[in-house]
Each structure stands twice: as structure tokens, then as C-alpha cells.
Point group: C2
């Protein structure tokens, strides 16, 4: 290659990468459509991270909590962890499957089996792996918050031990920032085993209770999608610091599944009423997301 | 000032600051005496953070856990939290004091009262505030580990809610990296209150059990000082990754208090035997610390 051409090419490549950086800087949420919800989220982040702004939140209080099923990834037609449990234990009772698949095996076996399953198991409606059915706009939001020194936590009704097997890879959230349902652990002879009894059921009131005991701080941002998240959203919205409560409303029957108050999975009824009464942000998947899933669509 | 003198002065100041930086870089643990224990700690950190070294530990697995009472700060003549409880509740029963002072008040009142107390209450033997009776070599170790991308956690037999009121200020450890004894929390009417019952007693086997459920990973470094830390040290020492189990042995009756197997506070008997059998690092306060406390001595 002619050396002048090479120099021009390098200059071009450098300027392109600068444009890209600038693009992401100016639009950190490219999969969110412009509108009042996107604006409210970005205004919140801008104002609370701007020193001297009356809305400023100190870094150590920038705690953001996210439900997982139906908020960060698809929960239809059934919670992914329940599908795993059915595959792994195969009784006729889904709760028994859940307990057996999680506690009747060693921790090493559970982690290995879960990871293999997640790497291969497919959602038949979308013909995609479950770990690729995460919501692209939510991944962008997690990253945007972390870029602004918010600490992002998952607070899931699912088990912490299941979600930890993909949270870092899929969401960039480390094991110790996953709060979930937990079995009673027993340490004996250098070894942890799990009782079939729950130590903590991380749903409804269990969510703020675990946040209090494990994080030790009230969050300033909470994002959920169902009645199981109501108490966590309520508690967050009573923070004396500026705060944001958000609900993802599944309104898109073409790109995903439309459901709310009548669904047995991720029912959204009381929390939607409360959100309307309290002016929480109701994210409308159909209207607010220009891309739904993280896998590449045509 | 003559401008040449000014320039010389600036050059001198800059070179001094560089010498200081270099000093801390070369000796990140200045309050530790040279010897096999300091060398073992520094070798561990150097080797496990050096890419390509067979001892290398990925960043996400660099979990380091520390007991608090007697490991990070002075626990004599009585655990500081018990002294607080006695002051705050004033029954004739120390366990009743503990429960009442923590659960019979609002969370806001507890935090405020604790902070005021910690700011003023004095250890009579040393004539220092309790929060100034932290061990300087341990503060340096925490910082050294964090500088090498270890995540530092407190895993204390004390209550998480008490320790969180000084962990950031005193140890640089945020609220969500404090695991402790926890009361059963109840969420109701936008509010958390605490039952007098414990949700979790974070001592002995309770330590690895909580680490499993809350961090979700086995630590690669554990540091304790009493039999209550034995299970946490044992579990850490069975990690498949390189690991370090350390015990602080209180051997200095001049600068602190010498105690071990006969003490009712922070008894160290079985864990010392196990440490000797397993070649864990036994830090000898008298021999290994050239400065004990973080307050400035003459």
C-alpha cells in the first residue's frame, strides 16, 4: 500500500472511532426510542451525578436494583429457572423439581450442569438460547448506570445460585451483586451443602428485606415488571434522596409477548395501579424499545 | 522569593513526592516488620496478580474476607458493639441490651445514635476512641489488596447494621461488602422494622454459610483471630485456586493485650492448633507489627 494512502486510512479510522465514541457518549441508550421515558431516565442520571446539582447523589448511595425475570430477560412461556429444574429433575411437580435440582446435588455439579444447560437450551418460540433473550435496552441501561458510578444489583425471585452462573457473562454483574432466593446452607467437614428448606424467599416483601440486610442501604433506583417487585419499588420511592421507580410493561405481542394482569407468569396488576398513582415510570416495551432482544435481528 | 530559588524549591518538592510514591510502591505495608509473614503475604499478592504466573487468580475471584473484632480493631476489654448496647439499653443482661438497642428503635434512630456514640466513646485503657483503635498494619493490608484488585469484605460476628455505620469511613469498605449477624427484617407500610429474632448468627459455621449465600464464591484470602473464624479459614483453605488463611495472634501485652486460649473475648484455641497443623500464617502482633494502632503514637 502506498504510504500516503496508509496514513489517510489511519486518519480515517481514528476519526471514525472518535465519532463512534462520541455517538455512544451522546446516546448511551441507542435501543431506547426518544420520548418522555428515555428523557426521564437520562435526566435522572445526569442530574444525580452532577456535582453541585441539588439532585446530586453521592457515589456510595448510587445503588440500583433490577428484578431479573421479565425485567432483564424473557420470562415467557415459563421462568427459565423452572425450565432448567424440569429438565434437571423430571418429577411431575415443578416445585419438587426446583428443590431437587438445586439441593440434591453438590454445588460443583449444580454450577457445571447449569452452565452447560444455559449454553445450549433454546426457547422454542424465538429459537434462541435463553441467555440471548436478554433485553438489549436493559443491557444498555445497566452499562449506562455503571458508567455513571451506580452499582447495579440483581434482586430476583429466582435463586441466587442459578442467576450467578450467568450474571457476570450476560449482565456484567458479579456474583456478590446478585440477591435472590436462598436455601439454608450448612457448613460441615470443609463443605457447604444445602437443605431443601428456604433460608429466604426473595419475592414481594422479601425483596426490600433482603436489600436491607445484604446491601444495607435503600436503593435510589429500582426496576421491576411484576407485582413481586411492588414492595421493592415502593421502598425505593420513599428514599429521601432523589429516586426512580420503573416498571417494564410487556406490551409487544409481535416482538415479544404482551401480558400483564391476567398472566400467571410475571403478573402485573397491583404494581401497575400503584405506578400510575405515584407517577412511576412505566416503560412500554412496544413504544419505548426500538430493539427488544440482545440477539441480532434482521 | 528569587525566581531561581523558587524553581529549585519546586524541583525539590516534586522529587520528594516521587520518592514518597516510590517508597509506598516498594513497601505497601510499612507498619509490618520484615520477616517471613510479610514476605508470604506480599509473595501471594504478587504471584496471584501477575498474568502468566501459574498462581494467577482472575480478578473476579479475588475475594478477601476479614473478621472485624480482634482482627481489624481492638476487641478488649469487651466487643465494642456490646459496649454500645450496654450504653444504649442499660438492662442488667448484655444479650437483652444487644437485642433492645438494635430492634426496639427505628433504623434511622439506630444509625444516628451509633454514629454519635462512635464519634465520642472512649476506650479507657488506651484513652482513644474505639474507631481509632483499628490496627494500622491491617488498614495497610486492606488497601494493598484493593490496589491489587482484591475485593475486601468484612465477615463479622457483630451485627452488619452496626459495622456498616463505620466500615466505609474507617476501613474503606462499603455497606454492601459487610456481612454480619442479622435480625429478621419485616417490610410493611413502606418501612423496615426488625424482629428481636436473629435471621442469621454470623459466627463459626455461619460465616462460610453466609459467604456462600451472599457473596456466592469461596474466598481466596481469609483473615481472622479467634475460634469463631475457624470454619471460614478452613473453607478458604480448601479453594482450588491459590489461597491464604491468616490468623492474628494477640501477643503484645505492652502495646495491646496478650490473650488467646484462656480469654472469654476472642478465644483462640482450636483455630491456633489448626493453623499450626495446616501451615496457615500466624501473624504475631508483637513480632510482626512495628506499629499497632492507627492513632498516632509518640
Amino acid at each position: 500500500m502506498n504510504k500516503y494512502l496508509l496514513i489517510i486510512f489511519i486518519l480515517f479510522a481514528v476519526s471514525c472511532s472518535k465519532v463512534n465514541e462520541k455517538g455512544i457518549e451522546n446516546n448511551p441508550l441507542p435501543s431506547w426510542n426518544e420520548g418522555s421515558n428515555k428523557k426521564a431516565i437520562m435526566d435522572f442520571v445526569t442530574q444525580t451525578t452532577q456535582e453541585g446539582n441539588p439532585q446530586f447523589i453521592p457515589v456510595e448511595d448510587r445503588i440500583a436494583v433490577f428484578d431479573n425475570d421479565g425485567t432483564l430477560w424473557c420470562e415467557q412461556p415459563l421462568y427459565v429457572e423452572m425450565l432448567y429444574s424440569k429438565d434437571a429433575a423430571e418429577t411431575n411437580n415443578i416445585l419438587e423439581d426446583f428443590v431437587i435440582s438445586h439441593t440434591a446435588v453438590t454445588l460443583e455439579y449444580f454450577d457445571k450442569k447449569t452452565q452447560t444447560w444455559l449454553d445450549t437450551a433454546i426457547n422454542t418460540q424465538f429459537q434462541q438460547r435463553y441467555i440471548d433473550l436478554t433485553y438489549q435496552p436493559m443491557l444498555e441501561l445497566l452499562q449506562y448506570l455503571r458508567n455513571n458510578q451506580f452499582k447495579t444489583f440483581i434482586v430476583t425471585g429466582g435463586s441466587a445460585m442459578f442467576v450467578r452462573n450467568f450474571s457476570q457473562q450476560v449482565y456484567g454483574i458479579p456474583s456478590e451483586q446478585v440477591i435472590g432466593t436462598m436455601f439454608k446452607a450448612n457448613y460441615k467437614d470443609n463443605n457447604i451443602s444445602l437443605d431443601p428448606d428456604l433460608w429466604h424467599n426473595n419475592d414481594n416483601a422479601g425483596k426490600p428485606e433482603a436489600i436491607f440486610n445484604i446491601i444495607g442501604k435503600k436503593p435510589v433506583l429500582a426496576f421491576g415488571n411484576s407485582d413481586g417487585d411492588l414492595e421493592m419499588l415502593q421502598w425505593t420511592s420513599t428514599h429521601t434522596l432523589p429516586n426512580l421507580a420503573l416498571i417494564l410493561h410487556h406490551t409487544d405481542n409481535v416482538r415479544e409477548v404482551a401480558y400483564d394482569s391476567l398472566s400467571s407468569i410475571g403478573r402485573l396488576k397491583n404494581a401497575l395501579i400503584e405506578a400510575q398513582l405515584n407517577d412511576w415510570i412505566i416503560v412500554d416495551m412496544k413504544r419505548d424499545f426500538n430493539q427488544v432482544f440482545s440477539f441480532k435481528t434482521k
